[in-house]
Amino acid sequence: MAGDSHSLQITEDARLLALIAGGDQRALAALYKRQGGLVYSLILRMLANEMETQEVVQDAFVQIWRRAPQYDPARSSPLAWIIMIARGLAVDRLRARSRREAGHAAYEQEMASLEVELNGALYAQREELAAACAHALNRLPEEQAHAVQLAFLRGWTHEEISRGVGEPLGTVKARIRRGLLALRKIMEDHHD
């Protein structure tokens, strides 16, 4: 069953993190083998720069190595914890770049590039779960999908998205929250 397999995946990642916390370098290698591709794909999608992506992935796994003792399974799933570390480093890079003029033109440009990445030539190569997630993202109301992607993948603040899309801040906040919850629901359904 997909649900059992998902639980096993979580358990295995959590087990590896516990070993890493104890200083086991082989566990770090195993974790990288399991999740390195996902982290790399995400960061490349965020930064669209190979060199920076390599640096961020390297920094992320070194941080995972050092911060593993702080991981709390009651707070986050292992994958969410890993992704949040890597994504945080990538957002730092994005924000260190020259500040964008968060106008409508920038909004359109960002959305076009995200669309290419989501539905581009590699779409067919996704595994079942990844395809389900991409499909789920495509099924979200367009404004919701845009807001979620800009916030999470491009590091745009709520205010910047509000300016870019020309809609009230409250609307944007609600869209991001609903979008993330809807994606989580779809993933949960997939595992069940």
């Binding site: 200083g23 669209a48 390297q58 190595w65 707070r75 969410a80 999470f152 906040k173």
Partner: protein, 377 residues
């Protein structure tokens, strides 16, 4: 304006890392008290995981893991980042080189300082004093090596080498900058290749070894047909309904016939009256180079009498690098013609091959030639 956020909004900001340190701390304290808030954060994080998984899969280069492994081994036991950086730096070859240079530099500064003070107070040390100074450092807070012709040469050599090292450092920095720019460009170009609405140009040349890619000039009529079809595709020319819905009848726009093959009607756009082709009746097509471009999931090919025989039936078969094939047939009179061939599985950037079978209505002779995608796109 107040800076008020509901706990739900605050949870989103927390997950997205948009809270400053103090608000983050406050929110974490709130979470400790509220199981509901903890559950919401976890759900939002799982949504973010789903969004991350939706990224197109890419294989990370092997060197990333090598660097992580080195860094982790270098750090060994868990130590604060500061010292470990210095330890790592010290272990590298650069540190040794830098330390040697620093030693030389200190030596040079001290020597020069000593030299200049001697100019101010010309009281050269005797050989005995020099020996004494070097052998009894407690009598001199700073040891002062004597300046000999040999030392001067070494100093000049040191200066030259320092300049050389500085120059190399500058060159390395420049190269790193260029590499970074090239890498960025490469990633952007790669992304553009996958863009569905970008027009990509191709030139089909014969599969036979004798074929010279780009050796044949396109006829003016063919060039005009290509330009019109680009305008058509970009929406600069009005789109005729019949042409866009894939009807079999060609639509003539500005002296060019536009024919759309359709995914559901690819057998024959116009039914041929001639007999089916036979392998033995093969002759060469008049001209080997066919211009084409891809737009979205369609391949658009321009033909005229310089590349295919007039009054003939043409059967297209297109295969992409994934092995997906598609095609259809049309009747070609003597008007330059633009044919839109749908490629349902998408046009792969890796390559494309097309075969065109041609046979005439008058003689019934058939001609087959396979055209391969040229590297000159």
């Amino acid at each position: 304006m107040t800076d008020f956020h509901s706990p739900e909004d605050e949870a989103v900001l927390y997950v997205l890392g948009e809270l400053n340190a103090s608000r983050r701390k406050e929110f974490e304290a709130q979470m400790e008290q509220s199981a509901e808030l903890r559950a919401l954060v976890r759900e939002l994080e799982e949504g973010a995981v789903a969004l991350s998984i939706a990224s197109a899969p890419r294989r990370p280069p092997a060197q990333i893991w090598s660097r992580i492994e080195k860094e982790v081994q270098r750090q060994g036991s868990r130590k604060p980042a500061g010292p470990s950086v210095w330890i790592g730096w010290w272990h590298s070859g650069w540190a040794v080189a830098a330390a040697s240079l620093a030693g030389w530099a200190i030596f040079a500064i001290l020597t020069n300082w000593h030299g200049s003070s001697r100019v101010a107070a010309p009281q050269p040390l005797s050989g005995h004093e020099t020996q004494l100074a070097n052998s009894t450092p407690e009598t001199n807070s700073v040891p002062r090596p004597a300046i000999t012709p040999a030392t001067s040469n070494e100093l000049r050599l040191l200066q030259a080498r320092t300049e050389e090292v500085n120059r190399l450092h500058r060159e390395i920095a420049e190269l790193e900058k260029e590499t970074s720019q090239l890498s960025r460009l490469l990633v952007q170009q790669h992304a553009l290749l996958g863009e569905s609405n970008r027009i990509k140009f191709y030139q089909f040349t014969p599969a036979s070894p004798g074929g010279e890619p780009g050796a044949v000039r396109l006829s003016p009529a063919l060039q005009r047909a290509v330009f019109l079809s680009i305008g058509h595709q970009l929406g600069w020319l009005p789109m005729d309904t019949a042409a866009s819905t894939g009807h079999a009848e060609p639509v003539n726009i500005g002296g060019v016939d536009f024919i759309d093959l359709h995914p559901t009607n690819n057998n024959l756009a116009v039914q041929p009256t001639a007999p089916p082709p036979t392998e033995s009746q093969s002759t060469n097509l008049p001209a080997p180079t066919i211009p084409a471009f891809a737009s979205g999931d369609s391949l658009i090919v321009a033909l005229d009498s310089t590349v295919v025989p007039t009054n003939s039936y043409l059967t297209f078969s297109v295969e992409n690098s994934n092995g997906d094939t598609t095609g259809g047939s049309i009747y070609f009179g003597d008007t330059p013609t633009v044919v839109t061939i749908p490629v349902p599985a998408g046009i792969m950037p890796g390559g494309l091959s097309m075969s065109i079978g041609s046979w005439t209505t008058t003689t019934g002779l058939s001609n087959f030639t396979q055209f391969l995608l040229s590297t000159n796109q």
